[in-house]
């Protein structure tokens, strides 16, 4: 297997994909998986695990009830990066704000999935499955599968210990690894793979791994100045996606969003990391940025009120991020439900007005060219959530 130079430095792990309650924010929280489709359009889904507080990322400062609800968590007017007179972006999103100004980033506010659970674990599974039940494959994999196998292209590819549910499924996955242990030679590996072939659990991944060995190695020299896993992974993803024969679809994950306490301090760091990831991704994609759309989603939003520990508890609607050169951006989309007492969902949460599946369906259809007829299989039972059109540049 070819080795990519920046990755051995990382503690990449599937576990990283699952959010921690830890106070430290860096190592092992991010992961990346990739897949291929025909054509040159690039699509990146960022999973923000742990429930990002949408009203801290994109403040509805124009809502008369906002300041009193959020008290010390609200930004000063001078800090906000304005998004057109009603919403303001957190100041640590400077990179994303510049993209917004160029029409390359946008937001949909008051979004939620098809479920109303406030359990991280259920909600993440449903978000990735694309349906409110536990199944063993993800909507992005089904979308990839619906587009058929690309010719002369590396097939799916995953980094980290296992692909997230989002990208698990029928479309095959290959692995790239940080080198931590001395590696057996190809001959010994082939004999191990031959033994594994009779095993239904380890046989297929071993076969996949062997097929991948000797495959082309993307040029992934480390970019100086990256000081966190997420930006490094975003950089790696961008380089892989930019390659002529590279994958076209990536799933990035970053945890650390479960801000039950000390939210301001923690989100300051998280937002900076996320912003650096967007910037690194755009830079690494180079000219391919113009055919790229990035969708960043979280399992649910957080309570409208502050809790007793200057944080927020599990809520319902949040914000969805969009970026990319192919995006018709520079807009905050969605229907703002308001924050008045009668407007809150169950008297505590921002009420959902846009289904995340509508956004995903719109992007799959208009950006990747997924046939409208396939969208129902990709998101079963999503008839009420019609595709949001007009997200892509004409």
């Amino acid at each position: 297997m070819s080795r990519m130079s920046p990755l051995p430095q990382l503690n990449l792990s599937r576990r990283a994909a699952l959010l921690g309650l830890a106070a430290s924010f860096t190592l092992g929280r991010a992961s990346l998986a990739l897949a291929s489709i025909p054509g040159d359009k690039r699509f990146v889904v960022v999973l923000l695990r742990g429930a990002m507080d949408g009203m801290s990322a994109v403040e509805p400062y124009g809502d008369a009830d906002f300041a009193s609800l959020r008290g010390p968590l609200a930004l000063d007017a001078a800090q906000r990066l304005d998004l057109g007179g009603y919403f303001g972006l957190h100041p640590n999103f400077a990179g994303l704000h510049a993209m917004y100004a160029n029409g390359e980033a946008g937001f949909v506010h008051a979004t939620a999935g098809a479920y109303r659970t406030r359990s991280h674990f259920e909600a993440q599974d449903y978000m990735e499955a694309g349906v409110a039940q536990r199944i063993d494959n993800g909507w992005l994999n089904r979308a990839v599968a619906s587009l058929g196998t690309p010719g002369g292209r590396d097939i799916a590819l995953s980094m980290g210990l296992a692909a997230p549910l989002l990208l698990r499924g029928a479309a095959p996955v290959q692995a790239w690894a940080p080198e931590k242990f001395a590696t057996p030679d190809t001959d010994l590996l082939a004999r191990i793979a031959a033994l594994a072939a009779r095993d239904p659990i380890i046989g297929p991944p071993f076969a996949n791994m062997m097929a991948q060995r000797g495959g082309p190695a993307p040029n992934m020299a480390a970019t100086p100045g990256n000081d966190n896993d997420f930006a490094v992974l975003a950089d790696a993803a961008g380089k892989l996606l930019a390659a002529a024969n590279g994958p076209r679809v990536a799933a990035l994950e970053i945890g650390g969003w479960d801000t039950h306490q000390a939210q301001t301090r923690r989100l300051d760091v998280q937002f900076k990391i996320l912003d650096a990831g967007f910037v690194a991704l755009k830079a690494a994609l180079g000219p391919a940025w113009k055919s790229t759309i990035v969708l960043a989603i979280t399992e649910f939003g957080r309570t409208a009120h502050i809790n007793g520990t200057n944080g927020t508890d599990h809520g319902t609607a949040g914000v969805t991020f969009l970026a990319g050169g192919a995006l018709a951006g520079g807009r905050v989309l969605g229907t703002w439900p308001g924050l008045g007492a009668s407007k809150l969902f169950e008297n505590r949460d921002l009420a959902p007005t846009t289904d995340v599946r509508s956004i995903a369906k719109g992007l799959l259809q208009d950006h990747l060219g997924v046939r409208a007829a396939s969208l129902g299989q990709i998101f079963p039972g999503s008839g009420d959530a019609s595709a949001m059109r007009g997200l892509v540049k004409a």
Partner: protein
């Protein structure tokens, strides 16, 4: 059955050791492990309190350093070089925990300890946890592994490690004296995870209102780290006044209300169901057979949550004796490998190091839900390659081992003919041992 001794050692135990003979009566050998007390279990709270005192002393020392520095915070460069005595103690306790896993004569009991440590996951994310996590295992988990589930729940919920991990000590009744004076409020974290993960699970149908109300019940549950007596304390001044309704029942104000509610939750039918599913998933198959779940659920109900009787009932499940149905997670794989090669106990530090690389670092599960227990979560191509590399590395340290004979010792009749043939055809002992430890039958238990 011919392979019962191997299953007793691998499925129920932590993997065979070449120097430990296979049990002649596997079921009796397993049952015997459930008798008596855990040799490493501790009664009382001395270890926890010593941990709290050490955390407090360490914090005081840091504070002094900051003051000596003119209040400008510690000298970062010099500070980094100072070994943190809490972390050192934690690391040496972790190595001891691993050494015990490598050598224990009661590996079924130790697997149960691991199971409950994972069920009540506390990750080491703060100083108070670093100081009290190993005492939590010794004083809360070990003594209750063959006791009653309700006692384990009550001990867990009162332990500083869990209270800190899920922010309970920061949750204040909004109408309590402190809540009113300082404008503080609830933190739902512990209440939610206790319902969702520790006891009834979402299948019981509790609502958001139940979570919030349960959080009110638990206000006041905290711990004392600075002043004697150390350890769990109920603080009436932060407790939300009044009766509370949780899951359709009313619970009185005060510490007693929380104890009553937790006692009720621990023996709730939904808790029995939840625990039965997890136990059967761990000991039988990723998709737990309904008949086996029902059986364990019944034992839990009929014995009011007697975990000794429940563990004994696991031994009697026919499904638990079907060979090789469970894929080893990294923790199982590493400990089984190290036991198989009789790793000298002074090298036990290899175990936490390997687990970190294989993606299951000890005591660092990223979520309160703990580590998953299904093959799909661990059998990615990447993790498999890392296992092979681990096996290859380990094999390089064990030149004295005869891989063919080790294969029949640790796998008995489950060693496949093609694995044995591959071992015989291998170019080196190292390759042969790597093949054995990478074989499909060794990756399962």
């Amino acid at each position: 059955m011919l392979h019962d001794p191997t299953i007793a050692l691998s499925r129920f135990g932590l993997g065979p050791r070449a120097d430990q003979p296979a049990p002649s009566d596997p079921r009796a050998w397993l049952r015997a492990q459930l008798q008596g007390a855990d040799p490493l279990g501790l009664s009382g709270h001395d270890a926890t309190n010593a941990g709290l005192a050490a955390v407090s002393a360490y914090q005081d020392m840091k504070k002094e350093q900051r003051e000596e520095n003119g209040g400008k915070g510690p000298n970062q460069t010099a500070d980094k070089k100072l070994p943190n005595p809490l972390q050192q103690k934690f690391n040496s306790d972790t190595v001891a925990y691993c050494a015990n896993a490598l050598t224990t004569q009661t590996p079924f009991r130790e697997r149960l300890v691991w199971f409950w440590v994972n069920h009540f996951t506390v990750s080491h994310v703060s100083l108070p946890i670093i100081g009290t996590l190993h005492p939590f295992i010794a004083e809360v988990i070990r003594p209750n592994v063959t006791g009653r589930f309700v006692d384990m729940v009550l001990a867990v919920m009162r332990h500083p490690a869990m209270l800190n991990y899920l922010n309970q000590e920061q949750s204040f009744g909004p109408n309590s004296r402190v809540g009113l004076r300082r404008g503080k409020g609830l933190n739902e974290n512990l209440a939610r995870e206790c319902l969702e993960l520790h006891t009834v699970s979402p299948a019981s149908g509790y609502t958001q209102a139940d979570v919030t109300s349960f959080a009110r019940v638990l206000t006041g549950w905290s711990y004392e780290m600075k002043n004697e007596p150390l350890g769990f304390v109920f603080r009436p001044q932060t407790h939300e006044p009044g009766d509370k309704t949780v899951m359709g029942r009313t619970w009185p104000e005060g510490e007693e209300g929380g104890v009553m509610l937790l006692t009720w939750l621990a023996d709730h039918p939904a808790t029995h169901r939840h625990l039965a599913e997890k136990l059967v998933r761990h000991f039988v198959a990723d998709v737990p057979p309904e008949a086996d779940v029902k059986r364990i659920e019944t034992v839990l109900r009929e014995t009011n949550g007697d975990l000794g009787a429940t563990s004994a009932a696991l031994i009697d499940l026919a499904g638990a004796w079907q060979p090789l149905t469970k894929f080893r997670d990294p923790q199982d794989y590493v400990v089984a490998s190290l036991r198989a090669v009789n790793l000298p106990v002074e090298n036990a530090h290899m175990m936490p190091a390997a687990l970190k690389i294989l993606g299951q670092p000890l005591f660092k599960a990223p979520f309160p839900i703990g580590w998953p227990d299904r093959a799909a979560d661990w059998a990615g191509p990447e993790s498999l390659l890392q296992r092979v590399e681990f096996a290859y590395q380990l094999a390089s340290r064990m030149p004295q081992i005869d891989p063919a004979s080790l294969g029949s010792t640790i796998l008995g009749p489950l060693l496949a003919a093609d694995t044995l043939a591959a071992i015989h055809h291998a170019g080196s002992r190292r390759d042969a041992l790597a093949l054995l430890l990478s074989s499909p039958e060794f990756q399962r238990r």
